[in-house]
Amino acid sequence: MNILSDWPILSIILATPLAGLLVVLLLPSRRNRWLHAAAIITTLIPLLLSCLLYSDFVNLQGVSGYEEQATWVEVPLNKETLEGVTSYKFIIQYAVGIDGLSLPLVILTALVTAMAAFASIHVKKRWKAFYAWFLLLEAGMLGVFLARDLFLFFISFELTIIAMYFLIGIWGYFNRERAANQFLIYNGIGSAVLLIAFIILVNTAGFRIEQSGNVLDFIYSGNYADLAKNMTDPTAWVNLTSEAMGGLNPFHMGDAMQWTLFVLLMVGFGIKLPIFPFHTWMLKVHTEAPPSIVMIHSGVLLKMGAYGMIRFGIYLFPEQAKAWAVVLAVLGLVNLLYGALIAFRQKDLKQVLAYSSISHMGIFLLGLAAFNEIGLQGAVFQLVSHGLISALLFLLVGSFYERTKTTELPLLGGLARSMPFMSGMLLAGGLAALGLPGLSGFIGELLSLLGLFESHPWLAGLALLGIILTAAYVLRSVLKVTFGPMDEQYAAAKDARLVEAVPMIVLLAVIILLGCYPSMLTDTLHYSYETLIHPILATRAGG
C-alpha cells in the first residue's frame, strides 16, 4: 500500500499540528519537558511526510498532482440573470494541493518549525500555552502554502496572525506588547485589503459551470483552479455553454477592475513581505519576539507574502504584473539598497538582521521582476534560502542574547573565545547571507540577477552594488560580535547546548546542500512547468 497515494497525505500534514495541539492541551501544564518533546515530535511528522512527498514528486517528475477536495459549506443563491441556468450555488471548499512552488515552501515551513521547536528552550513561563499557540501557528502556515481555495487560504493566513500576536505579546522581550499591537494592526490592514480583493475575486472570477444533460449548475467558490482558469482564459465558458446560454460569456472583468485587484493584492502581500515603505512593523517584531518565533517569522511568515504575490499577483494577473515589472524591479532595488545601507549603521544586531531581511527580500522582488524563468527560479530560491539563513541567524542571536543579555554591537566582542562553535556558526550564516558560493544564498542572488539581467540590465548592474554593501554590513556586525578582544564578563559563557546545536547544524547543512546542489530546488519548480512557468513565458511572448 502506498501511503502517498492512498492516504490524504496533505490533509494529514495539515492536521498533524492540530492533533499535536490537542495532545499538548491534554498534557499537564507543569511538565515542561513533556510539552517540549510533544511539540518536537509533532513538528517532525510534517517534516518527514513532506520529505516523502518531495521524493515522490521528484521521482515522478511532478506529474502526480496531489489535490484533495471536499465541500465545506453550500449555500443556494437566489439569483437569476442568465437564461438556462438551473441553479446558482455558493460553496466554501476545503481544497488543498501542492505543486513545484508550494512544495519547497511546505518543506521549508516544516523544517524551520521543527528547528524552532528544538530551540524553544528559552521559554520560561506558561509552556502549555506557548506550545499550543506554536502548533496553531504551524497549522496556519502549512494551510497557507497548501490551500487551493481562497477561504482556506485566508483563514490560515489569519490564524498565523492571531497566533503570532499572542506569541509575541506574551513571550516576547521588553517592549513585547507594543510590538504585538503594531504587528496585529499592520497585518490586520494587510488582511483587510486582501479580504476585499478576495471577495471581489470570488464574486467575479470564482465560478465554474457544471453541466450534466440539461441541468446547468452555476457554482461560485474560492477555488484557485477556477480562478486561474477564468483569469487566464476569459473566454473559457463561451463555447462550452453556447447551447444553453446562447453564446453569452458569463465572465467579464474590466480593465480597471483587474488593475484594482492587482494593486490590492500587491499591497496586501507587500505589507507582509515587507516592501518598502511598509516595513516598519517588521523591525519591532524582530527585536521583540522570542527567538524561536523570530526564526519562524523571518524564516517562513515573510515568505507567505512572497508566495501570495507569486500565486495570486503574478499568476492571476500576468498582464498587469508584466506592465508593472519595472515598478517591482525598482522597488526591489530600493529594498535591497535601502535595507543594506541602514543595516550598515545599526547598533543592534537584531536590527541589522531585520534590515538585512528587507534587503534580501529586495533580491526576491528583483528575481520576480525579471519575468523570465531564471528570474522566477532565482526568486523562489531566494525565498527558501533566506528562510533557512535567517532562521539560523536569529536562532544564533537568541542563543547569544541568552548568554550576554544584550545584542548591542558596541557591548559585544570576542565571543569566539568563549563560544567558538556558535561564533563559527554565526560566521557561516553571515557568509551565507552575503552570498558566498557553495552556500544557498549565492544561488538565489545569481539566478535572480541572471534573470533580471535579461530584462533590465542596468538595474541588475546597480543591484551588484547591493552585494558589495551586503558584504560590508554583514562582516561589520558578525566580526564585531565574534572577533576582537573579549569582554571579561563573557569569559564564563558556555557554548551551545545540544538542543541548540542540533537545529544550527541541520540548518547549516541544508544551506550547504542547497548551495552545492541547487537542482534539488530548481528541478522541483521546473516539473510544474505547465502551470508555473509557461504562463509567464506566454505573457512575455504575447507582450
Binding site: I185, P277, H279, T280, W281, Y338, L341, I342, F344, R345, Q346, E373, I374, Q377, G414, A416, R417, L431, L436, P437, G438, F442, I443, L446, L447, L449, L450, F453, E454, A460, G461, L464, L465, I467, I468, L469, A471, A472, L475, R476, L479, T482, F483, G484, P485, M486, P518, S519, T522, D523, H526, I533
Partner: protein, 629 residues
Amino acid sequence: MEFYTQSAWLIPIFPLAAFLLLIALGRSYRTTAMLLGSAGSLAAFVLSLLVLFERLGPDAVDYSIRSFKWIVIGDYTLRLGFEVTNLTSLMLVVITGVSLAVNVYSAGYMKNDERLTVFYGYVALFTFSMIGLVLADNILLLYIFWELVGVCSFLLIGFWYARPSARAAAKKAFIVTRIGDAGLLLAILLLFWYMPGHALDFTSIYNVFHEGQSGVMTSGITTFIALLILLGAIGKSGQFPLHVWLPDAMEGPTPISALIHAATMVAAGVFLLARTFDIVSASEAAMQTTAYIGGFTAIFAATIALAQNDIKRILAYSTVSQLGYMVMAIGLGSVSGGIFHLFTHAFFKALLFLGAGSIIHAVHTQDIREMGGLGAKMKTTAWTFAIGALALSGIPPFSGFWSKDAILTTALDENPVLFVVGLAAAFCTALYMSRLFFLVFAGKPRSGHAAVKESAAVMTIPMIILAALSVVAGFIETPWNGWLSGWLSGSEAVETVHGGSSIAAMVASIGVGALGIYLGWLFFVKKSIGSGFMAAKLPSLLRAVERGYYIDEWYRVIIVKPLRGLGSTLAVFDEYVIGGTVRMTGALTTAAGRFAARLSNGKVQTYGLAALIGCIVLIAVIVGRRFWS
C-alpha cells in the same frame, strides 16, 4: 593513456578530505592535524607532479570533463567540470608545492598556537579551493572557487581574531576584493547573455573570440566585459587602486602570507587574465588599460616599499609591485611572460615570507629597525633569504632575473614607456631588498636579542627547498630557449626572435639591479650616505610614501564616510519619516476616535442633530445617485 590527467579531479579531493576530517576531529588532535594537513597537500602535490610529467609529453591534448549539469533551467544549463591544460598543470604544481612547503613549515611556526587544528583546516580548505579555481573549466565555476579562496584568505587573515587590527584587516580584505568580485560577476552575467548557447566554458570562449566570430558581440560589449574581468583581477591581485587590502593582510600568520598573499591566491588575478586572455586581447583598449595599470602598480608599490619599516609590509608591497609586472606582461600580450614571472615569483616570494617568518619567530618583532646582525646567528635563514632577495632583485642567474627579463624584453618591443617604468621599478626593487637585507642581517644587533637562534629544521628545510627552486626555476625559459612559452601555447618550442632587444633589456636590467644593490650597500652598510638623508630633506614626501600615498585616507574620505553618512541619513529617514508617517496614522485614528467620543455628550438635542445630518446625507446620496451616472 593519460591516466593521471583523467584523474586530476582527485587532486582537490585530498585537501577537501583533510579539511572535513580536521573540522570533524576538533581541537585536541594537534599532531594528527599537522600530519593530516600535510598528507593532504602531499598527496595533491604528488598527483599534480604526475599530471605535469604526463603533460610534458609530446602529444598532450587538453582534457576536459564538463558533464555535470549543475543547474538546468529551461533551455539554459549551467554546467560544471574540470579541464587540464598545460597552464593549469603548471599552476597545480605551484599551488600544491607551496602548500606542502607551508604545511610543513607551519608545524614549526604555529606549534604553540592553541587553534592549530583550525589553522590546518583553513589551509586545507584554501588549498582545495585554489586547486578548484585552477581546474575549473568554466568561468562560473572559477568564480565560485574565486570567492572561496577569498573567504579562506579572509578567515586566515583574521586567524588571530582577538586583535582588533586583524579583524579590521580581514574585513577590509574581504570587502575590497568583493568590489572586484562584483565586477567579475557582472562580466559573467554579460557573458552568459551574449555568448552563443549561453556557454561559459573556456573552450567556447576561445572559439568565439579566437576564430573571429566578431558578429556575436559588439566591440563595445567586448571591451566592457574585458574591463570587468580586469576589475576582478585588480581586486584579487592587489593592483592599483584596489591594492589597499594586501599590505594589511599581513596581519595573518606569516606562513599564510607566504601561501595566500604571495604565491597563490593573489596570483589568481593574473591567472584569470591569462585564462580569459582571448576576451581581453580582443579589445585593444582593455589591453592598454591592463598594461598601464600593471606598470603603474609596479612602480607605485615599489616606491612605497622603499619607506616601510615592517618586514612583512615591505614584502607585501613588493608582492603588489611584482604582480604589477605580471599584469603588465599580460597587457602587453605576453601571457607566457606573466605566467613565467608568476611561476618564479611564487617560489622566491614564498621563500622570502618563510624567511621573514623565521626571523619573526626568532626575534618577536617585525620592525626592521630593531633587527640587525642576524646573519651570524641565523645562517640558513640568511643564506636562503639572500637567494630570495637576489632572485627578486633580478640578478642572474637566479630565477627572477629570467622572468623579469622576459617581461622587460616584451615591454621594450611593445611599449618603451612601460619599459622605462619597469626598469625604474626594478631599480626600486633592488634598492628596497638590499635595504631590507642589510638592515636585518648585516651590522650589529640594534636591540638586545640575546637568545636569537636558528629555527628548527621543520622550518628551514622547506626554505632550503624553495631556495633551490628559486635558483633553478628560471631556466625553463631563457632568451635562448623559449620552452615555456611554446609549451604553454601548445606548439613546438619556438626560437626566440627578440635578438637585439633581448640583450639590451638584459643589460639594462642587470645594470639597474646592481646599481640598486650598490646604493643599498652604500646607504645601509658603508653608511657613506646617512640613512636620515631623505628624512632630513623631504620629510613630507617620506611620510606620504610611508603611508602609501594616503590611499587609505582618500578612500575613507571619498567612499567610506559618504556611505556611512548616507546610511545614517537613511536610518534617520526610516525612523522619523516612515516611522513618523506610521505613528501619525495611528495618532490621527486616535484623534478621530476622541472627536467622535465628544459627540456623545448625553444631550438629546446633539443626538438629534447628528441624526438630522445623517438623514440629509442619506437623502443627498439617494437623490444624487440618479444625477451621477
